[in-house]
């Protein structure tokens, strides 16, 4: 198969342009612009075009010639009927209007407005979802046979039991690091024993719940959004609806309930690991005995802190599951939407957890502090 070639000769005072070789995408010389420039230069002198030596021409070759001819038929053309039909196809193109919509000067304001409106829309939808879940709970109270125990226990296992190793590891390491850094400071003041107060309050009250929330939002929240999203893409949710199964009872409620219960337990577990990590580090760094640490802990940290930590765990779990399910239900049937909604779900969940944590800190500022 020969590449496309152009030959010119003068016969009886007129220029003849003979094209030969395969004028197909695979056989046109690259860059094509060089060939196009040559053809345009030839077209300017209105020669006789002879295409009959071309064994094969495809739409790329046809468009190339058509453009070189200035988008009209040349005065004299020798072509086979089949070549003519390929060229006619190229001649018939009506390019779509490719002009870009004008960018308004208020684009930034408009974008901000859209963002705010989208936030309000999401808020309204989440409130609707909460309302639906409350109605579902009321319904399940009167129809206990419909409680989705299997889904609930599966979710509890997936988002609770399977998260135990990672939360323990992260909690332990944070405890070690925090204890090590604090001990360096405390030693200079000779206030070694206050390490117990420092670690106890900060881990049980603040760090435990927030660390677990961030881990769970990334781990279980994204999984929930992706699962519900894919079920929307594959029409599984519609299939459930046609069977008369409520998606909120069967899909959303078990997830929200399971995470609300698993989270406080994970918070206790993670805080315990953090305290143990801090205790080990304090023992190695400052020679503080384990016995002293364990004895001093209840005195330094009032019980209220534990309840605050558990309460935060419950609310964070509720929040993460609600946001994950909400964005999962918003997924449109394409891959782009799935990825963007999963990202939005995780980012929103983590941000809101931090905001709610700050609100908690203000509301509980008089509680659980040693007298």
């Amino acid at each position: 198969m020969a590449g496309a070639s152009v030959d010119t000769d003068e016969r009886a005072g007129r220029l003849h342009v003979t094209l030969s070789g395969d004028w197909t995408l695979a056989h046109l010389p690259t860059p094509i612009s060089g060939l196009e420039a040559r053809l345009q230069a030839l077209a300017a002198s209105h020669p006789i075009w002879d295409l009959q030596a071309i064994p094969r021409i495809d739409s790329v070759g046809a468009i190339l010639l058509w453009r070189a001819w200035g988008r009209r038929w040349p005065d004299s053309l020798n072509a086979l009927p089949q070549q003519r039909s390929v060229l006619e196809r190229a001649a018939a193109i009506r390019p779509a209007d490719a002009s870009k919509p004008q960018v308004s000067r208020l684009a930034a304001v408009l974008a901000l407005g859209r963002l705010v409106l989208a936030a309000f829309k999401n808020l309204r939808q989440i409130i609707t979802l909460i309302g639906q879940l409350l109605l579902d709970v009321a319904y399940l109270c009167s129809h206990p046979r419909d409680i989705p125990w299997r889904e609930f226990s599966a979710n509890l296992y997936k988002s609770g039991a399977q998260a135990l190793p990672v939360t323990a590891l992260v909690g332990f390491l944070i405890g070690v690091v925090l204890s090590y850094l604090s001990s360096l400071q405390l030693k200079t003041f000779g206030a070694d024993i206050y390490i117990v107060n420092l670690l106890g309050i900060s881990i049980i009250r603040e760090l435990g719940p927030v660390i677990v929330a961030v881990l769970v939002a990334g781990r279980s929240g994204s999984a929930m959004t992706a699962q519900i999203g894919v079920m929307r893409v594959t029409e599984e949710i519609d299939a459930l609806a046609t069977m008369g199964v409520s998606r909120s009872v069967r899909l959303v409620l078990p997830k929200v309930a399971a995470l609300s219960i698993a989270m406080p337990l994970l918070v206790v577990w993670c805080s315990a690991a953090g305290i143990i990590g801090g205790m080990v580090s304090a023992n190695l760094q400052m020679g503080l005995s384990y016995g002293f640490f364990i004895e001093a802990l209840p005195k330094a940290v009032p019980l209220g802190n534990l309840w605050i930590g558990i309460g935060k765990g419950f609310f964070f779990g509720l929040l993460i599951a609600l946001i994950a399910c909400h964005f999962g239900l918003q997924v449109k049937p394409n891959t782009e939407s799935l990825s963007s909604k999963t990202t939005t779900a995780v980012v929103t969940a983590i941000t809101l957890v931090i905001v709610v944590d700050a609100v908690f800190a203000i509301l509980t500022r008089n509680l659980g502090l040693p007298a």
């Binding site: 046109l28 790329v60 468009i63 089949q82 196809r89 009506r94 779509a96 782009e336």
Partner: protein, 271 residues
């Protein structure tokens, strides 16, 4: 029944006069399940081969082996005289630009618009300028009887018939010499299916490509195929023109082609 000869302007591809597809001794096993044992099949330029067989007979598996998505357990598959799984990545890449595949569900990229879906293989070549790509996409849209304004739609907004058309336009965007179709009319209503079959037939006559298709729809088979290969009992039990295949005495062929509906379809298409 007549065999559509390759138009005179279409020269056989390199190396000269070798079949477009050459399958030699292909066997496929998934674990202990044998799908194919020792299959031989040739497809010549300009043929439209319909691959038929019962459910689970490995039609789609064979198709995936032809386009190199799946490696057979043994045997070789050659396209245009080169192995589809050639060790040289350049040869593999060149080979993949010479055929287009139409997937059963269309397999359009859902993140890209119709226009970008069709433009994608053209842009990947990196030799065409923007304006050329734009015109080519409009031309392909016209080929599959869609309008230029449809280019702005997203795949999620298309009807089933349109998805197939756009997928066909994308499969044809690199001017392939071979078109591989997996259940081209599955999921279309009879009227749409009929139109789609006519469209493929018309484009094939005009552009002269070779077609291999898997189908279990007799109307599609009767409307398009110049050759039929029947896959049953792990091998190809019959291959040839429809008349030759019908003459083979085999329980599967009797069941498949000789029911009342089948007879009506064959009457309509082949006679």
């Amino acid at each position: 029944m007549k065999i559509i000869d390759a138009p005179a302007s279409i020269s056989p591809s390199s190396p000269a006069d070798c079949p477009i597809i050459e399958i030699r001794g292909v066997s496929t096993r998934f674990g202990d399940t044998v799908i194919h044992s020792d299959i031989d099949l040739d497809v010549e330029a300009g043929q439209i081969l319909g691959l038929v067989g019962g459910s689970g007979s490995g039609k789609t598996t064979l198709l995936r082996e032809i386009v190199g998505l799946l490696m057979p357990s043994s045997g070789s598959v050659k396209l245009f005289g080169h192995s589809v799984l050639d060790a040289d990545p350049l040869i593999r890449r060149k080979l993949r630009r010479r055929f287009g595949m139409l997937f059963q569900q269309g397999a359009l990229f859902s993140a890209l618009s119709v226009f970008d879906n069709i433009a994608f293989p053209l842009r990947e070549l990196r030799v065409l300028d923007k304006e050329m790509i734009h015109e080519l996409v409009c031309l392909k849209l016209g080929m599959v009887e869609l309008e230029a304004r449809h280019g702005q739609l997203m795949p999620a907004e298309l009807s089933g018939g349109m998805v197939k058309r756009v997928a066909l336009a994308r499969a044809l965007s690199l001017e392939p010499e071979l078109l591989v179709l997996d259940e081209p009319t599955a999921g279309l209503d009879p009227d749409l299916a009929d139109n789609f079959v006519k469209l493929i037939g018309m484009l094939q006559k005009e552009l002269g490509f070779t077609v291999v298709m898997v189908t279990h729809d007799l109307d599609t088979l009767a409307g398009l195929a110049t050759h039929v290969a029947v896959l049953a009992e792990q091998r190809i039990i019959a291959c040839g023109t429809p008349a030759e295949v019908l003459a083979v005495d085999h329980p599967f062929i009797r069941n498949f082609f000789c029911s009342e509906h089948a007879k009506a379809a064959m009457q309509k298409g082949f006679v």
